[in-house]
């Protein structure tokens, strides 16, 4: 990776991590596992578009692994990692087909994938199919938060592109 890209990648990783840790300090709005704003996903999405999917993947790993260490929520790692990787896969694929001005759509699919994957893992770990009853609530949350984070990434890309060109 060229030096410039590498440096920017590291910078984005640090930002994603900082956003993640700060967001983790905010007490959950609703006592349902998995409902959060997920702002660091905006960074991931931005990275996929601005740097490339593989650089974004590195950022995802840094954010998830170091984030779990810093917040002390190591038990949540399986849920966090599986959700983030599934979301990355979906987003990295969809950006090839969905134009940048509809990035929020990609973000929603990413959010829905993230939540669904987490529930899947939770159901496997607890051996309880009843956990799937949380899916509708999580999807509603995913659509809302996905739109928000997607718009963040989208607007950032638009402004940054016009500044840098």
């Amino acid at each position: 990776m060229k030096h410039r890209k590498l440096t920017f990648c590291a910078l984005l990783a640090a930002i994603a991590l900082a956003v993640f840790v700060i967001e983790a300090q905010v007490p959950p709005l609703v006592p349902i596992p998995g409902i959060k704003l997920g702002l660091s996903n905006a960074v991931t999405l931005f990275a996929i578009c601005f740097l490339g999917p593989w650089q974004a993947l590195l950022i995802v790993f840094v954010r998830v692994l170091l984030g779990a260490l810093i917040t002390g929520q190591i038990a949540a790692l399986i849920y966090s990692l599986s959700g983030a990787l599934a979301a990355w896969t979906v987003c990295a694929l969809l950006v090839r087909y969905i134009p940048q001005k509809q990035l929020w759509v990609v973000s929603i699919f990413g959010a829905l994938t993230h939540n669904t994957m987490q529930i899947l893992v939770a159901a496997l770990v607890t051996q309880t199919a009843l956990i799937f009853s949380y899916l509708p609530v999580l999807w509603i949350s995913g659509i809302i938060t996905g739109t928000f984070t997607g718009l963040c990434a989208q607007l950032l890309l638009q402004r940054l592109r016009s500044i840098l060109s």
Partner: protein
Amino acid sequence: MSTKRWILVFFVILLFCTALIFLLQTGSESQIAAVYSDGQIVRTVDLSRPDAYDFPVVTQEGGENIIRVENSAIFVVSASCADKLCIHQGPLSPTGAPIVCLPNRLVIRWQSGNAGVDAISGG
């Protein structure tokens, strides 16, 4: 696909999910709560009895949830997990949604079917 079309798609999904939330709420006839740790049932509690007591559920890694039975309700009073969501989920509600502590892999739910008396119950 146009932006308007996408908005419609997600709006429909939103409506669908809202409907699902209400449809999935099964009033449970059962008065027996089942406590699962790591997918295995560790305790059944007959909530029609007036007993009041606490009991702990521990995981292999030393994670612990303390569960209280009181006034025909069952809920988590103390947990070793980081987010404590299980405590804020309150008592097991008649609508059927389980109480979960994902980090400690704990699930409290209404017992389904006629599982019989092959588990420990009461105090």
